[in-house]
Symmetry: C2
Subunit: 407 residues, 2 copies
């Protein structure tokens, strides 16, 4: 907890916490965490994409090539962030290794604690830059992309000690990895409501993003009778309520209209056009896609009923990502062994685990956060909950070690 | 019709029609119309507030002081306007006098054709500057108000040939005025739907304007379950539909949410706050006020049901203005005499008649406009409908002359 507080002083904006990709604040943070890694006996390095990695060697004889258990999260933040989103996963990885070192247990695998250089997508409007490097997904097009100041990503990397020409070296060999484990604050209110410190993530919800444009007829609010109107906002209001109703119709489904613009948006003019954005998530892709289908049908029906044009302007489908079932079960068992009720849940937000799941088994452990608040300075976790999480991680390493040794 | 086309060339923005208070375009328009007035035998002057007035003298012997029938509308326009809103009323007044002159009829009153200098409120964000002068309502505070460039209204008037220190001379003496008659395009679709060229205005609807602020709790669209949300937009959607339902519940009532803003308005964030503006109009003030009461009650109920805060942030009540019942009846009779069905209706928009009604009997004659479109370059009326309107005005002058002579 004190490390989280100290790490939060590495910021590019005084008075708040903002730490973006390849910034001086990120450099300070990597120095600080790197010093902690080294003091804990980890071999510390930056990979070609400037991810910070601390390696805790295995106890295997020299002729065996041990695999690696990776644990961590990201070190960058959103603008005006809290101190736990990302950072807590890295610091829990470090604390875990310190605890393992104290036990003196001989591990059949190495543990690498990773602090990804970029997950939030602030600087290049694209997320997961750090974890993409580990799965070989930093494309030439992405590397050439400029930030707002016109600095291309590969220039930024180079200036920060990265090696955009040697990114292949950062890519994981799946055969050498036991798993990627990501501890993370929940960023939602579910665990708090259940009065549980920990949640076992079954997977990261798939997401539909879509934009609808409703076009009616603008007109004078005083002179056009009610029965002659084609009011785009009234139609949009119906659609917003349909989205909410459909979101409530399935456990685990969340459906949101977060963005809505009215044109011309003048108090005395009947709205002629409304643009709205839909965000729809569920762990089960068929459920989500059926809900999207239903929303489109309801939108068409509302539009037809009101003689309004409704156009699905744009949409994007991001499939759900499953955590490794054996890891989910193992973590659940460890939670139960530690004396807590094991609660399996979906992650509604994306995480580095989404990317790593393309190559290696992944799992996530959620920690309760106060009020579900995240991406905000009020982000808060308790020392007791972090201790419970570490207890579970220690147990998990024991289980994985036993399995690795017997395989 | 050709004069309306020619007058539309007096604009301050090439390629569109925009003619605001005390602009060079208004100067050109007043010159053009003034020349037409003079050619038609009218005595032409600018009053102290720069309203253009053409006087057609009465045929009374010199020792009698004849009263005056005023007819007209405004010569200014909105930005990117149509050519008939306002201007048509002035040009119909002129055409009426030309027709009266042709008949050689001796009138017991003078006719003054007035082109108000300002009605739309573009330059000083306050409407009716021209007609306010005729009722003595150009206050010192209003005259000191600056436009966007910092030019105070009295400076603008002075530079345009007005006399802000002699505004008292522009104020009407009610005893000397027979009536104010304003021909105007309907600016709505009612007459077109009824297939009638003309409408007799019973009064100008009263208006409630109000702003509501709905405050819920912003949150992550992916991580906050549906049953834990306080979504300000979903609440606002219900309110928009309640406003529409209540607007439909009474003949003649119009209720509009034309303006709505969402905060933070990001696709992946549950809306935390929505601001919306209500516009509510009816000719009968008690009906309008009861509807506003019902809307407030429904807003409170929706907010309570959703545990959201709903605040009526601001509201304004503008009472309805009745046209003179005897004039309404007389115009209705003239419409019928001309062979048309007389349709009495409310004006949903405000007009100079609203202001003049404080001092003198007023009446308005509406002309059908294409598609109900106004405040737009597509504004359109037919020559036939204007001819029908002139026929009715000629008949009306005859009726009023008979009444005036016998009184």
């Amino acid at each position: 907890m004190s490390r989280a507080a100290e790490l939060a002083t590495c910021t590019e904006r005084p008075g708040e916490l903002t730490r973006t990709f390849c910034s001086p604040a990120m450099h300070s943070a990597q120095q600080m965490v790197g010093d902690w890694f080294t003091a804990a006996g980890l071999q510390c390095r930056l990979d070609a994409a400037t991810n910070l990695i601390g390696r805790f060697a295995a106890a295997q004889p020299a002729h065996v090539r041990p695999r690696t258990l990776i644990i961590g999260s990201h070190l960058d933040t959103v603008v005006n962030a809290g101190r736990y989103d990302g950072a807590l996963g890295v610091l829990m990885g470090l604390a875990l290794v310190e605890l393992m070192a104290e036990t003196g247990l001989d591990l059949p695998f190495a543990i690498e604690v990773i602090g990804f250089c970029e997950e939030e997508g602030v600087r290049y409007q694209t997320p997961y830059i750090g974890s993409r490097a580990l799965v070989g997904d930093l494309t030439a097009e992405l590397l050439a992309r400029p930030d707002e100041a016109g600095v291309a990503m590969n220039e930024a990397l180079r200036g920060f000690g990265g090696s955009p020409d040697r990114l292949a070296e950062a890519v994981l060999d799946p055969a050498s990895v036991v798993a990627y484990i990501e501890p993370h604050i929940e960023q939602g209110p579910v665990l708090e409501r259940l009065e549980l410190p920990l949640g076992v993530v079954r997977g990261i919800a798939g997401q539909t993003r879509a934009r609808f444009v409703l076009t009616g007829t603008a007109g004078h609010a005083g002179t056009v009778p009610m029965d002659g109107r084609r009011d785009a906002l009234a139609a949009a209001a119906q659609l917003v309520l349909e989205v909410e109703r459909i979101g409530r119709s399935q456990p685990g489904l969340v459906a949101t209209v977060g963005h809505l613009l009215v044109a011309p948006n003048a108090a005395n003019v009947i709205p002629g056009r409304v643009t709205l954005r839909l965000d729809l998530r569920h762990l089960d892709d068929p459920i989500r896609r059926a809900a999207f289908q239903e929303i489109q049908e309801r939108a068409a029906a509302v539009a037809a009923q009101r003689s309004i044009e409704c156009r699905l302007d744009w949409s994007e489908d991001q499939p759900a990502v499953a955590c490794d079932p054996a890891l989910v079960a193992a973590i659940g068992q460890c939670v139960a062994d530690a004396g807590w009720q094991s609660h399996e849940m979906a992650s509604g937000a994306g995480h580095d685990a989404v990317i790593l799941a393309r190559r290696v088994p992944v799992a996530m452990l959620f920690l309760r956060c106060k009020g579900g608040i995240s991406h905000h300075p009020d982000e808060s976790v308790t020392t007791e909950d972090v201790a419970a999480g570490l207890d579970v991680l220690v147990r998990l390493v024991g289980r994985l070690a036993a399995a690795e040794a017997s395989s």
